[in-house]
């Protein structure tokens, strides 16, 4: 597969790399809609699989190494310069649950709005025009990181981190867990976060030359099943 190049007129401006941009983007208060989503935690709490910090940690570790890894690789690949529309299709192919595909596009659309305000970029404009109902969130995240002048590894870190902070914050609200204990869970997961981010960035670099099929396609069937069930609940605190 040929290396993807930006279309004429869509070349990336000279990088304005700022490490702090990554902090702005990864901040839980970044207004991109994540606060209304539990990343599967609400369904897992109801199923009795998350009951406290220990089970939350196991849930987060599982999510990180499956859908977290996939999201991180898609994001890193978008930052590396792979075609975002093809990556969007690759994300569809890696998301068997229809409701999770809908959620990913909804969150992608919300992130696009915030990203275009924070780091205006012709590439983000082009993706918004091509996918008016939203592209998959990790793809938008990768283009956002690119617009902020950061690296594929940064995008992978941001996506991996998001894959565990969503369930962790939701568990605090759903189970009234001790917030210090949950923060300690996140701290214990940081070596895994580094490992997954490195793995995802490596895959993204390989995909530049070998094509998108080398991007990871790990899945967590229980997350997909829970997502489908959760979408039908009449009463719930979180949108997903």
């Amino acid at each position: 597969m040929p290396r993807w190049r930006p279309r004429p007129g869509h070349e990336q401006a000279a990088p304005r790399a700022s490490r702090a941009a990554l902090l702005v983007l990864a901040d839980g208060r970044f207004p991109a809609g994540g606060h209304a989503h539990s990343g599967g935690a609400e369904a897992a709490v109801k199923a009795g699989r998350i009951t406290g910090p220990g089970t939350l940690e196991a849930f987060c570790r599982g999510r990180l190494h499956t859908s977290g890894l996939v999201a991180a690789a898609l994001a890193a690949a978008a930052t590396a310069g792979l075609d975002p529309l093809l990556l969007d299709e690759a994300a569809d192919a890696r998301t068997p649950s229809p409701s999770l595909r809908t959620t990913a596009r909804k969150l992608g659309r919300q992130l696009t709005r915030a990203a275009r305000a924070a780091w205006p970029s012709p590439e983000l404009d082009a993706l918004a025009a091509a996918r008016p109902q939203g592209a998959h969130q990790p793809v938008v995240l990768g283009l956002t990181v690119r617009a902020a002048g950061l690296t594929p590894l940064d995008a992978a870190h941001a996506a991996a981190y998001e894959s565990v902070t969503g369930p962790a914050t939701a568990a605090v609200r759903l189970l009234s867990l001790d917030p210090f204990a949950v923060t300690a869970v996140l701290a214990r997961l940081t070596p895994d976060l580094d490992e997954v981010a490195a793995q995802a960035a490596e895959a993204a670099h390989r995909a530049l030359d070998e094509g998108m099929d080398v991007l990871p396609a790990a899945s967590a069937p229980l997350l997909d099943i829970y997502a489908e069930q959760h979408a039908t609940w009449p009463v719930r605190l979180f949108a997903s």
Binding site: R29, P31, A32, G33, G34, H35, A36, H37, S38, K106, R109, Q110, T112, R113, A114, R116, A117, P120, D125, A128, A170, R173, L174, P234, V235, R236, L237, F238, A239
Partner: protein, 240 residues
Amino acid sequence: MHLDLDHDNYPERYAYGSLPLASPGGPPATRPDGTRRALRVGLGGPVGSGKTATVAALCRALRDRLSIAVVTNDIYTREDAEYLLRNAVLPPERISAVETGACPHTAIRDDISANLEAVEDLEETVGPLDLILVESGGDNLTATFSKGLVDAQIFVIDVAGGDDIPRKGGPGVTTADLLVINKTDLAPYVGSDLERMARDAKAQRGDLPVAFTSLVAEGGVTPVSDWIHERLTAWTAVPA
């Protein structure tokens, strides 16, 4: 209060599309085709004060003369949207429910992305609209709407919630464009002093208006619908 932002330094970046702003820091004034978009009015206030009943009464009072849509922000169900549907105040395609992940104030103030998507989608699917009512989930006295989401906001309290609420103040009571004190018919039964509430509201709000309503009587919502008519007249008097 909100800061007035310098128009030149705050271009239309945060919009999903590329649209001019109505007011500094406010949402764009036009639709993608350049015509004037609907006036957006937020309704916030504590749980049980009568926000949904006010929205329903407003729809009934205004729907023959205006093209209206409603966005609800339930905390954990779709009950507010379903109440409006059940009472058939508007056709179902004109009512949209946003899920807020246990944080109603976040969805109307700190991260407005899901609500912006809902109002923009309504404009697109059932528009052109004259008026969009955005109803917050029941919250506390500090809940206010972002200027990025609505053009004006109504804060709804009721006499049964305690006649000391206007005196306590808080951003909702103090800064809302209209304070509605609802359920005046209950005042004698709960020992609430309406004179005192009016005096305290005046002290907190200065010249900002206060409307006393009782929705059990025919035409009980008239003070609020009259106020909305004034806002609409002002909104349409300014060139788009």
